[in-house]
């Protein structure tokens, strides 16, 4: 009698209906978490800021020559030059904040893509193939895990030179090992599950098993791990910039902080120069951490009680 809509779709395309239900369930679980909600809203604010940069602040505010021609003073306080004053080169601090959000978010996301791609590849290969491949890969992972991350990044960045792509590469190359370990452990447990044996006994190839059975089952964990890798990437970019290894042509938040510090903003009491960028970093890092922890808890319910 009651053949409802879901039942019909289920019979027509069970896989898609299951995926949609899973997604719906996932979204509900996510929204039920208060930290998750706060993180998501914070992130949306900053993504909107980065996307709407041309509407919010004129890029010419970053140009010393234009500012000089317009008679903008140096070190103008927020009341003299709203909303956030100017720096030692007469540049608009609000414009630096708005345009800097693009660079910081971009570096954070791009470096995470490199980290996750490297880490997942090593983790899946190592866990799935096993044997001496596993031993060798895990030995290398162990090496990279123990070597202090920031000094290695500094050394790599010094040798490669100052560019945004080098920074992305350096962060990716230095932070993949923890992802690799996590993914490997998960692959090892998934590999033992019955459906993998079943697929193999039906004649599925290795590639098929990895793509259709292993990967979907570790993807939740990879996503959570990726979200938690973004804040680390953003903080690393900031620190490398502060140490003088940032891209000199890109107005990132880290670059604003190092310029403020080196040109004496602290002793000149120009708080408007170094406070906004720091708050931007803090909030974006917080947003990704909150989202990542929520995703991690959904992907691995055993963590539920701990956070």
């Amino acid at each position: 009698m009651s053949v409802d809509a879901t039942a019909v779709t289920t019979s027509r395309n069970p896989a898609w209906a299951r995926r949609r239900r899973a997604l719906h369930h996932f979204a509900r679980q996510f929204w039920a978490s208060r930290p998750g909600r706060i993180g998501l809203l914070l992130l949306l604010v900053f993504v909107a800021l980065a996307l709407a940069a041309p509407l919010l602040a004129d890029r010419s505010g970053l140009d010393t020559a234009v500012a000089r021609a317009d008679g903008v003073p140096q070190w103008a306080s927020p009341s003299e030059h709203p909303p956030l004053g100017t720096d030692y080169l007469r540049r608009d601090v609000w414009a630096q904040f708005v345009w800097g959000s693009r660079i910081s978010l971009f570096v954070g996301l791009a470096a995470t893509v490199v980290t996750i791609a490297l880490g997942s590849a090593v983790g899946i290969v190592s866990g799935f193939i096993g044997g001496w491949t596993d031993s060798v890969l895990m030995r290398v992972t162990e090496w990279f895990l123990v070597i202090p991350f920031l000094p290695l990044a500094i050394v790599l960045a010094s040798v490669l030179g100052r560019s945004i792509w080098n920074i992305i590469f350096v962060i990716g190359v230095t932070s993949w090992p923890s992802t690799a370990r996590l993914v490997r452990a998960q692959v090892l447990t998934v590999k033992q599950r019955l459906f993998v044996d079943r697929a193999r006994s039906l004649g599925a190839s290795r590639t098929h098993v990895v793509l259709k059975h292993i990967l979907p089952n570790v993807s939740g964990l990879i996503l959570a791990n990726a979200t938690l890798a973004v804040p680390i990437s953003i903080l690393t970019e900031t620190t490398l910039s502060f140490l003088g290894l940032g891209d000199p042509r890109k107005p990132s938040w880290g670059k604003t902080l190092v310029e403020a510090f080196e040109n004496g903003a602290i002793t000149l009491r120009a708080w408007w120069y170094f406070v906004p960028s720091g708050i931007g970093i803090l909030l974006v890092v917080l947003a990704f951490t909150l989202i990542g922890q929520t995703l991690e808890r959904i992907a691995d319910p055993r963590l539920g009680g701990r956070r």
Partner: protein
């Protein structure tokens, strides 16, 4: 803890150290086929000096010979001459170890103590307002760049409220001795120490909290309560000792960063340690200095990691058999 476990860990540590040496060697001398050219890009170093350096480093020899030479020199703590001071790098570094160990060591101990106590309190009162405020404030400190926190504290407590010195380790004008010198040191140490303590605190609090929450679910606590033990005794005698295990490991690992843990913060407070030396070496760029610093930072981390592994196996007999 049996001999095989110890051997395995020690061999692992040595292989990591060797890997660091290989990275150090290849990165600086082979990856860029003209290492000096790429490092000196943009800086004005006379050509004859570059040629001099090339032969100093034996860059006309085959790679493996250079590597063997490099290993031998490193074993003798010969890291070459600093580009900046023209002194042997090791002489330069030696004097900078103590300030860093003092600053990071004090902060590491304080942050471990405060963080662990905070984390345990939060876990024991899980879901309360105390838990909420401890967890969220540690999250905030954990999310900011440590050097930015340093800049804020410097601005607030050295400039706006001139209570503390703006930087350095001692007041050059004072010639105080004894207690006066100690007081002078402490005043200079306060702000960078506070910065690092706040920055490290979060990790300890998070680990301590989740560790105690794990333990609180264990059967032996139910048994302890069923025996009629009071809450205080259950906590002190049964929960806390077991929950301390992961914290001890974390502390041992973190002590590995006693040399490299304050690179950016030392720069903010002009603290005359290894971190500040790193920033100076980057700006130079001072290649031999950077190489030596990377090696020393890594060696410290590798050593304390090994220590953490052995300590863990000793404390928890289930591991290391």
């Amino acid at each position: 803890m049996n001999a095989a476990y110890v051997t395995k860990k020690v061999v692992g540590a040595f292989s990591t150290l060797l890997f660091v040496l290989v990275i150090n060697f290849f990165l600086f001398r082979v990856v860029a086929d003209d290492p000096f050219g790429s490092l000196l890009r943009g800086s004005r170093v006379p050509t004859d000096k570059v040629e001099q350096l090339r032969s100093d480093f034996g860059l006309d020899e085959p790679t493996w010979k250079q590597f063997v030479l490099y290993l031998r020199q490193t074993a003798q703590l010969d890291f070459g001459l600093s580009f900046q001071t023209r002194q042997p790098v090791w002489d330069d570094i030696q004097g900078k170890i103590w300030p860093t160990v003092l600053l990071v060591g004090v902060s590491a101990i304080l942050s471990a103590l405060i963080g662990v106590v905070g984390g345990f309190i939060a876990a024991w009162r899980r879901g309360s307002a105390t838990d909420y405020s401890i967890t969220s404030s540690t999250m905030v400190f954990y999310s900011m760049p440590d050097f930015w926190l340093g800049m804020l504290l410097l601005y607030a407590f050295a400039i706006v409220l001139p209570w503390f010195p703006v930087g350095g380790m001692t007041d050059l004008r004072s010639n105080a001795t004894g207690l006066g010198a100690v007081w002078d040191h402490a005043r200079h140490l306060f702000l960078p120490g506070l910065t690092l303590t706040l920055a490290y605190l979060g990790e300890y609090a998070i680990v301590a909290r989740s560790s105690l929450l794990d333990v609180m679910g264990e059967d032996y606590l139910t048994v302890a309560r069923a025996k009629g033990l009071r809450d205080v005794n259950v906590r002190r005698r049964h929960a806390v000792p077991n929950a301390l295990l992961p914290v001890v490991t974390l502390a041992a690992i973190n002590f590995g960063f006693v040399l490299s843990g304050a690179i950016a913060v030392e720069t903010v407070f002009s603290w005359p340690g290894l971190g500040r030396a790193t920033t100076d070496a980057i700006r130079g760029p001072d290649l031999p200095m950077l190489q030596a610093l990377f090696l020393i930072f890594s060696a410290a981390v590798i050593f304390f990691n090994l220590l953490a592994d052995l300590l863990y196996a000793w404390l928890d007999p289930r591991v290391g058999t």
